[in-house]
């Protein structure tokens, strides 16, 4: 391959990788916000789906920027529901996450049919004006750096990390841990909702059934592989995005089966979970007595 040819292959690949990685970085930051304050979050998928749907629904009525606002608001509400279920209803974190994912999937498909179209299948809703993807990509990467600085170089970050390691001792030290958790879960929902809005308002400009299709779980995988750190997570998400982009580019050529490239995030995560090195926050998943 000559120089220009190689550039012609790599440049679109890099752009496509960034586009694929953007929702993973945003949702992954949401996962970090939640898990760092001790709440296990397998509900990223449902939060993204709720954000994607509400973003598109509001975007059709009042323009894409209002759509983004609606997506982050709904995402935040879902995040706070997760907190309420685990803290007040004392639900196991996994159970609450499963319920949120199920409710988000079925209520968005239900509402899509009820509000936009009766046809079945194919069912989808579209929007005319889309937002530039680069806006979200830049925001996602900037947020990853900002989160790193906040988490490791500010008093707030210290509190967040302390709550995740041991809520009881942090409370003893005089920190309002309930509020830290509330901020964490609200931020988690906002970021996952934003990731959903990216998918429906910037990347494809429509909403269709189950359109998040597992990206929430890949974002969770990036959190685990990145050892619960913003920069590590972002690196993992970029790598997963690159594999995804590579799979699109190689489609049709017989060099590698697409399924293998698509499986890399899952295999990497199982290996990371096996290596035990990515130690989760010590208080993760603990229920207050």
């Amino acid at each position: 391959m000559s120089g220009p040819e190689l550039a012609g292959f790599l440049l679109p690949l890099g752009v496509s990788a960034l586009r694929q990685a953007t929702p993973l970085v945003l949702a992954g930051l949401g996962g970090i916000c939640s898990e760092r304050v001790g709440i296990v979050n397998i509900a990223l998928e449902g939060m993204m789906l709720a954000g994607a749907f509400s973003g598109l629904a509001a975007g059709r009525l009042a323009g894409p920027l209002v759509g983004v606002l609606a997506a982050v608001t709904v995402g935040m509400l879902v995040g706070l529901t997760h907190l309420w279920a685990t803290r007040k209803l004392r639900l196991n974190h996994i159970v609450s996450g499963v319920a949120i994912n199920l409710l988000a999937l079925h209520s968005t498909t239900f509402l899509l049919r009820r509000l936009f179209s009766q046809a079945d299948p194919p069912v989808e809703a579209r929007i005319e004006t889309m937002l530039p993807t680069a806006l979200f990509t830049g925001l996602a990467l900037a947020l990853a750096v900002i989160f790193h600085l906040v988490l490791y170089h500010t008093p707030l970050g210290l509190r967040v990390r302390a709550v995740g390691e041991s809520e009881a001792s942090t409370r003893m030290a005089g920190v309002d841990t309930a509020r830290v958790k509330m901020v964490g879960l609200a931020a988690s929902g906002v970021l996952a909702g934003l990731a959903g809005a990216y998918l429906s308002l910037a990347q494809v400009g429509r909403f269709s059934d189950d359109m998040v299709s597992g990206r929430g779980f890949i974002a969770l995988a990036a959190v685990v592989c990145g050892r619960w750190t913003p920069l590590g997570m972002a690196a993992a998400a970029l790598a997963f995005g690159a594999f995804d982009a590579l799979q699109f580019q190689l489609q049709g050529s017989v060099a590698l089966p697409g399924e293998l490239l698509r499986s890399i995030p899952y295999i990497a995560t199982v290996v990371a979970a096996m290596a035990l090195q990515p130690r989760p926050p010590a208080d993760l998943g603990r229920q207050e007595e």
């Binding site: 296990v40 397998i42 279920a85 209803l89 004392r90 639900l91 196991n92 974190h93 996994i94 159970v95 609450s96 499963v98 319920a99 949120i100 199920l102 409710l103 999937l105 079925h106 209520s107 498909t109 239900f110 509402l111 049919r113 009820r114 509000l115 009766q118 597992g214 779980f217 969770l220 995988a221 685990v224 089966p257 399924e259 293998l260 698509r262 499986s263 995030p265 899952y266 295999i267 995560t269 199982v270 979970a273 096996m274 290596a275 035990l276 989760p280 993760l284 998943g285 603990r286 229920q287 207050e288 007595e289």
Partner: protein
């Protein structure tokens, strides 16, 4: 006395009623008639003999995968991976169903079922072993193995295991000797339902009357205490996950041998995920899981009928399921550390 025996059923019943009320409000808010929708739902699930059989056929995979989740829960493990185990179990049964020819049915069917159980058990033993040996969290691992199973099955039925004479991403049809008896009225009811009920009895016996069942429950109540009492906690966790995966694999095998007659890519509408609702509502016991699988089976069978007659989208059944998990799940697994 009778009241005391009925007491454990009160909360699950309340959560089901509550979920139906919420779903009714949703239907009403979207301009439908909740009463009409409910009537059509009941009509579709138990208003005719075909409807009843359809309810039982929908309940079959839910019962088996619900038992799978329940057995793992009793050991304190969360098997979110029933979907992946079910998919690979189905694929193994489909392979055994067309690869062996000339066998009599009484040998061929058990061989296919055993293949499904074995592969499902093996796939579930991976997170069990990683949890026991490395302390890896089984929820993360089972979620990833679900997606891995989906990709693997997709790869195989589009390549090495693809039916050479068909365009569809599917394996060849299984031999007639590997097919379970099925009703001819379009309800998809098959002898698989009987097998699922047998499995439920087996799980009840396992948990109550065997040493392994006792160890599983002991580990679920407290791994440290069980270890002090002399239980091999790691081995028990792996066994519980393997049994769990075997049940999910059996669910997949029965779907292939009784309903589809071959492995069709993406055939499962998420039985493995619905099974979590089934197990939580059923309270982790075999009888409770059986009853809740019948409820969700009826819901699923009736929802299609309801959609056709009242134009209320059938996804309302999924909303009921989600609400049930919220309200019924509140009883389980409080405060488990990951």
């Amino acid at each position: 006395m009778i009241l005391r025996r009925l007491a454990p059923a009160v909360q699950p019943l309340l959560s089901v009623v509550g979920a139906f009320v919420i779903a009714g409000v949703v239907v009403w808010a979207c301009g439908g008639s909740p009463l009409e929708a409910l009537t059509a739902l009941v009509q579709g699930s138990c208003g005719s003999s075909t409807g009843l059989l359809r309810t039982l056929s929908k309940a079959t995979p839910l019962l088996l995968s619900g038992l799978a989740v329940a057995v793992a829960l009793r050991a304190g493990l969360f098997n979110i991976g029933a979907e992946g185990q079910l998919i690979l179990g189905a694929l193994a049964a489909a392979w055994a169903g067309h690869a062996f020819t000339g066998l009599p049915a009484w040998i061929h069917i058990p061989v296919c079922l055993a293949a499904g159980v074995f592969v499902g058990a093996l796939w579930a033993a991976i997170p069990g072993a990683l949890r026991a040996w490395r302390g890896s969290h089984e929820v993360i691992v089972t979620i990833m193995l679900n997606y891995l199973a989906i990709q693997l099955a997709h790869f195989l039925v589009n390549g090495a295991m693809k039916d050479p004479v068909s365009m569809a991403p599917a394996t060849s049809m299984v031999e007639p000797s590997a097919r379970l008896w099925a009703a001819a009225d379009g309800s998809n009811f098959s002898a698989g339902f009987g097998l699922a009920v047998l499995a439920a009895v087996g799980v009840a016996v396992l948990l109550r009357h065997t040493a392994l069942g006792f160890e599983i429950r002991a580990v679920g109540l407290g791994a440290d205490a069980a270890r002090v009492a002399g239980v091999n906690v790691g081995r028990t966790m792996i066994s519980a996950m393997a049994i769990s995966g075997g049940l999910a694999g059996l669910a997949g095998a029965i779907e292939v041998l009784g309903v589809h007659r071959r492995y069709l890519d993406a055939f499962s509408p998420g039985y493995g995920f619905d099974s979590i609702a089934v197990a939580l509502l059923g309270g982790g016991g075999a009888l409770g899981v059986t009853l809740s699988s019948l409820l969700f089976g009826g819901l699923s069978a009736g929802a299609t009928h309801m959609e056709a007659w009242t134009h209320v989208p059938r996804q309302i059944a999924g909303i009921v399921q989600g609400v049930v998990i919220f309200s019924a799940g509140a009883r389980y697994l409080k405060g488990r550390r990951r």
